[in-house]
Amino acid sequence: MANVILLDRISVMYPNKTVALSGVSLHITPKEFVTIVGESGAGKSTLTKLLIKEELPTSGKIVVGSIDYDTIDKANIPHLRRRIGVVFQDFKLLPNLTVFENVAFALEVSGVKTSEIKRAVPKILQLVGLAEKSANYPAELSGGEAQRVAIARALVRNPKILIADEPTGNLDPKNAWDIIELLIKINRFGTTVVLATHNKEIVNTLKRRVITLSRGRIVKDDKVGKYVL
């Protein structure tokens, strides 16, 4: 699977006639680090939701790798989601599971062998720097730690694409920067990273491709972008 992300004239309109995205066309090549910026309501979250088929476009075409989103049926959505790592602003960790179990859950749903899980999870927790917290519950973690667990969970299946929707939204600058550095590291390993954010400082320091959304349209797409709004 070549991990190309292709959006062709995507529009999303809600039943109350609110337009979330209109005519968005996008091409993201493998191993790219793309930042999507825009104010709240510009359509960043809608875009990330489209990519994991949590929402459906009103019109337009989405192709990720060899998967055409129009032809994939409901029963295969879980399989699609297992191939794309997603990190959310509110972490979305399971409160009744420990750090280890939260990460392991991503492998369990894919039917990975227990011995393999026991090998892979500590390794990935090591990578995000949480090896010593593996027996803790999410409620016992700081925001930055919780987000690193979420990243570990997204990464443990070795996805070709990682989507991060405002991963630093709930974090202080120090923790936020830790998360961004982690994303850069992951990108260096060969994973395509799509980062949606409205943090100006981060975008300007990153010096990567920046796609600017405004009112559901792409208004800017720079190879080495700045946060301009």
Binding site: I52, I77, R81, R82, F88, N96, F105, E108, V109, T114
Partner: protein, 302 residues
Amino acid sequence: MITLWRIFKTGFRNLFRNAWLSAAATAIMVVTLVIVSFFAFSALLLNSQLNAIKDKINLTIFITDEAKLDDIKNLQAKLLADNNVLSVEYISKNDALNKLSNRSEKDKEIAKLASEVGNPLQASLEVKTKDPGKINQVVRIAKQPDYSKIVAETSYDEDRKKIVDRIVGFSGGVAKAGTVVSVAFLTISLLIIFNTIRMAIFTRREEIEIMQLVGATNWFIRGPFIVEGAMYGVIGATIAVLISFGLMSLAKPFMSSFLFSTSEVTQFFNSKIVLIVAGEFLLGIIIGATSSLLAISRHLKL
């Protein structure tokens, strides 16, 4: 295979980690099962007792001393031909005397006295019927003019008729009322337990959403909840069985002072013990699992 094992493992883990929620759901399950089994047991017991009473209602046709054996045999055959008749036993005057003397010490002396005065006991035909409610049809055969010479009287005359009719009517009424009350209680209990489980799952709807986003299939999400629901049933049934047994031993002395003899109730209870225990477990598991299944489906829309 590994998925099935994980579903069970996750189900058990959730059961313990949501201890308070599990305890609440299990408590409701216990109450439900105790109520249902109490009503089911009472209905069964009452039914069996009423059947026993109904079985004891048989018709005795007293034969005159002048009747010839041929005529009696003729009547016996005629009675047997009726659909409602199970058996007809001829008790001669001597048989009647033997029966009396075998009954007890006191009756033995009476029988001895009776034989000395030339056996005043009457010969009879003992008729067992399938449906005591239709006993009068059988009586009608015996009351035909053809047999007026040999039939002295029947046990279904005058006062007795009223008692028999009342017992038959009463047992029918009890059976109907028992069914209605049981069904009503079962329905109410089911609604309560379903609602409890529904709320327990509702508080965890966010977890369900997260699992979907991480790529769990619907069955992988549903499975542990169903296991959990079934476990409410298993634990609930265990406690309910213990409570039922406790109540049973407490209630025994009181029951004997009402309708039934203690030994009869105990015997009945013992004969139905497997049915009651198995029924409680089965009912608990079914209620728990289906409630979970129904409650979770609305959170699984993609």
